[in-house]
Subunit: 382 residues, 4 copies
Amino acid sequence: MQLIEKYIEIRKRTEHLCKPLQVEDYIPQPVPFASPPKWHLAHSTWFFEEMILKKNLQSYQEFHADFGFLFNSYYNTIGERTFRADRGNITRPGVSEVYAYRAHVDEKMRELLEQNLSSELRELIELGLNHEQQHQELLMTDLKYMLGHNPIFPVYDSSQNLLADVNLESGWASFDEGVYEVGHDGGAFCFDNELNKHKVYLQNFEISKSLVTNGEYLKFIEAGGYQHFDYWLDEGWSWLNENKIQSPLYWHKINGKWYYFTLSGLKEVDPNAILGHISYYEAQAYATWKGLRLPTEFEWEIASDSFSWGKRWEWTNSAYLPYPGFKTAEGAVGEYNGKFMINQMVLRGASVVTAPNHSRKTYRNFFHPHYQWQYSGIRLAK
Amino acid sequence: MQLIEKYIEIRKRTEHLCKPLQVEDYIPQPVPFASPPKWHLAHSTWFFEEMILKKNLQSYQEFHADFGFLFNSYYNTIGERTFRADRGNITRPGVSEVYAYRAHVDEKMRELLEQNLSSELRELIELGLNHEQQHQELLMTDLKYMLGHNPIFPVYDSSQNLLADVNLESGWASFDEGVYEVGHDGGAFCFDNELNKHKVYLQNFEISKSLVTNGEYLKFIEAGGYQHFDYWLDEGWSWLNENKIQSPLYWHKINGKWYYFTLSGLKEVDPNAILGHISYYEAQAYATWKGLRLPTEFEWEIASDSFSWGKRWEWTNSAYLPYPGFKTAEGAVGEYNGKFMINQMVLRGASVVTAPNHSRKTYRNFFHPHYQWQYSGIRLAK
Amino acid sequence: MQLIEKYIEIRKRTEHLCKPLQVEDYIPQPVPFASPPKWHLAHSTWFFEEMILKKNLQSYQEFHADFGFLFNSYYNTIGERTFRADRGNITRPGVSEVYAYRAHVDEKMRELLEQNLSSELRELIELGLNHEQQHQELLMTDLKYMLGHNPIFPVYDSSQNLLADVNLESGWASFDEGVYEVGHDGGAFCFDNELNKHKVYLQNFEISKSLVTNGEYLKFIEAGGYQHFDYWLDEGWSWLNENKIQSPLYWHKINGKWYYFTLSGLKEVDPNAILGHISYYEAQAYATWKGLRLPTEFEWEIASDSFSWGKRWEWTNSAYLPYPGFKTAEGAVGEYNGKFMINQMVLRGASVVTAPNHSRKTYRNFFHPHYQWQYSGIRLAK
Amino acid sequence: MQLIEKYIEIRKRTEHLCKPLQVEDYIPQPVPFASPPKWHLAHSTWFFEEMILKKNLQSYQEFHADFGFLFNSYYNTIGERTFRADRGNITRPGVSEVYAYRAHVDEKMRELLEQNLSSELRELIELGLNHEQQHQELLMTDLKYMLGHNPIFPVYDSSQNLLADVNLESGWASFDEGVYEVGHDGGAFCFDNELNKHKVYLQNFEISKSLVTNGEYLKFIEAGGYQHFDYWLDEGWSWLNENKIQSPLYWHKINGKWYYFTLSGLKEVDPNAILGHISYYEAQAYATWKGLRLPTEFEWEIASDSFSWGKRWEWTNSAYLPYPGFKTAEGAVGEYNGKFMINQMVLRGASVVTAPNHSRKTYRNFFHPHYQWQYSGIRLAK
């Protein structure tokens, strides 16, 4: 696909995801880590305006003098950033103005994309598109969080099946110890944290071809998993007690039966569906209870051709740290990944809300171990 | 005026206040103490549905099964209440649904009001209307807070003059010591906290006929008022340091000049206008710096005929406590006032955003001493 | 008694109270509001060194250059103060050094007291002695807090009876409405917050001659008093829930029976003894449950000759605010009382740990409404 | 050495470290992560009583019924544990009683050690001794923290040289990429987290033979290292701003000159001495500023024979995670290491306060990245 076609397709998809929304839904930021849809729409656009158009399209006139300030995220390099927890209070510019901002930037981007661009600039646009795809997923994840915390459980879209799939395979895949190659060779687009391809030494391991299901996890709950400290990391046990966690996020026990909130509304928990919305702490505790463990990110990557994946992010037992030879880029783009390499665990795979063509086996997602709001599940290893 | 006409007029005014709003503006709750406009619209309606229609109009069908739960406020008596800090995350029901809710309740209330009602029920409706007027003021106050914390300072309505007025009088009014009568005699509507008329003994006092102006307060700022602990109550000094307070709320020093956010946008501070948006701590510190003091609520009430008031709530040096013989009503209505009688200071007067016909000299407003978000000012006494 | 004799007696008493302590007991500050015994010993001494000796005894050499800094309390006027919550971490100077400090200051104070002193200086010394008596009581109260939070419940001194007394009287005292005089006339020592004698107008009231007993309060507990929001102030209900309060401080239910920690160790709760260690919130809730109320501080003062008091501080329904004409003194002494006049409620009376000759009917004690750590009880009014 | 001799020597050393202390110094817990000396003395003893004597010496009578409860640490398996932050408030049992406890346990341990013990029991005693050595180091680290936060900077012992050493070597050691062996083979004592010896693949790397000195770090400070976000991890930058960090712990700038608190008192910072008391965030920021990086724990281990180490713990760029095949032991001993394997970074080496014979190149120390209170420094790699 041409870059211009790709640009158009990806940008449209973001707006398509917002079709079922009312204006009101674009506004709230229920918790500091979950941004409003309006902000995702604007911030992904800001990337193209700030990083690309302002520097590369001479005729470019910025859409609004305040937007560079309002829709910046964590990029300390570029001006003062708005206080992250305040994103939900900025009602103006309104939703239609943000759509106008998108249209303005899209028009100018198309103008730019019709020119003969340096490969460096094309790569930066590619990065902007991948950034937008990441925000598509965050938009859906954050939206679910907001709707799922409304006591009347609104439906986003009942026609789409956004429940998790069921497992297609079972059994274990085995691997011998030895030297393996992991990481991305840089031949096509990837994020800087996936570079470079390099050798690692793995011990013998086996990895499950299936993900843990709701039914399997229910057995852990029923066996008192949330009441026994010995399955838990010390910080996991504190987290659970301080936050009164008794189940995955979105689960509700009503009259003795388990339900969960989905983007199609409140449903009875399907025991055969793949488990989701658990923290690393829960993943680790479940594995301990089973007498098993989580795979490392390298075991996962090496084994990934032997099972199907892509419906749930999978917690690994690897901390998010730089690969050998990792260098952050200069300037604002350099703030993309490297500065988060502490206190986060790697997730591999992808989820039902990941953008199409945005997953690969070397992809390194990462979150703090206490977050449940992702579509995150468990694959066991031994 | 007939009760039905009064009902219609007051209910309409709430909606009229919202005319300049965009849908987006109805949603956010920027801080737990400042509720979204949508919530004020719905909660004031809920009072009529829950307290009056459900019990007194036999044919009444509730508008929506969830609204009783969603738009309850602090009334512990009636069902579980929603967690107060979450009001800004409830995007559904949407704004138009809330207006439909209002229309539905208004229609049924008109139906009820055409009947022959007991005086007890008429009093409860009267309470509901006063409650709605209080929420009109809160709506404006909270809205100002939200807009005033948007870094682009949106204008609510530039055609209305919602700046504070200037003083019309000057000098001091003097009163001799002796027995005086304060409180409301209950002959017309009043809140339970104003009852009953009773005697108090006052010492000689003098009270200023004017309110402190921005210009006078600027002198306090320039004299280092915010840097000297000795003018401040111990808790005021902590509050100021922890919150880095250096001026009234909404004031911004830009290139050496003071501006303030108003509902008509950002304006240069008018030195002749009446000071507003200060905490009790600031009022007390200013008075101490001047070698004067704040009046008590009884001094204010006795003196109130000798000066003009109604453009700014005025902090008094009285704690919000029950009058002799105060009794809370039975049931939910009893939760209206009495349970807040701790750690709050009384304000007397009214402000530019107080509803018409909603002020009287016995009215007792009350807030915690650290709140700046009210239209609150200073009248000095000695 | 001569001032010098009084000085010696009061200073000795502080040390006598510490007789049962081990060196270890002098050190901890279990919570920011409860200071270590060592700090009370040193800070009360610091008052004499800093406020009196340095300014009035020409030959005076300060004991240690750091003590002025270490043992200052809230006196912002004099140098930088140590961070209040750190008092328990300052192990050096050690306990014996603090006793040497006391001896040094006492010797010099005796030298000074043998001179012909101005009445102003004598009044300041009188203030220092009253200050020391206040710290005697705080020392005992804080010590009880520390020992009472040790899971092995150490005994301070089993030979002393530091349990509350039982009521000696019963019934109600009645008073007619009218003008009464309250406050101190300043003829003998009093704190500035008691001045001046002034007139107040009281309504008819009745006040109980007895204090609420443990047995009476147990009925409130057993009637579900801590589970029903409607008896509680809104902030009281939040306080109770956030802190999981289910009983007065120091009470423990063990195998279905109520015990309480006393300075003589853990004892079964005596139903006839006077209730203590409750917050204002609890006092107010109990009164509401009984259909009664707490007296105001003025009702208490006027009625105080008609009942016995002095074994328990009694929460009143009066906020701690300045009397008419109240002026804070210049300088550090001015920080004594006035700056705390916000968000606190007045207690009248005295307790079993109040110093001898340190109580009078005009005395105004004050604490935040959530504090339970005082020897505080309930007298009802109607 | 015989196990009994080793036991006696190590137990004596703990008490020897406390020789310079006054009784007062044994008590405070200045922050939740720094325990009082008394607690270290008692808790290390509790290990022998609870884990060894109670189960293996039939005649054993516990010293005191409450001590098992009071001096337990994080061992959830054994009874309820005391709330960690309260260790400083437990004045009784006093210091001499804790020494009596130690003497009692030592006598019984000697009795046990004269018997013919199973190798399993000997290993558990070995673990208890290593546990005690760890607490020796913590005792010194925590003590420094307490004394270093006393504004008068008391001296622990001026005769001992507890300053950091200077570097003995310089230059870089180089290593070729390939398969290396790391971890402990279990032939002698080690902690479970060091097991087992296993292969890893390392890329080419170079590692500095010297540690960063105070003088080198001062250049980072003077170059504005603490003011530029781009050297810092995102969480490091937040940590620095929230805690107003401007230098390593214990450093004070007085009249333009840098001093640091040492166990011999306040000294001028020695530019040639090895830097200490920095967080991982600072180590990482310094390395980034230099255009270099921290070594991984495996690089460190492989290279450790080529430089001298043991005067400062060295932050590595490895997260504390389980080695392949790691299994936690059953019961309380299993709580030793595994449950902390999240959100912590590995430190290698040892420090001037590490117990003699308690270091080896496979040793894995670990702390949260924000802690500065360890004797922690920086070795660079590239």
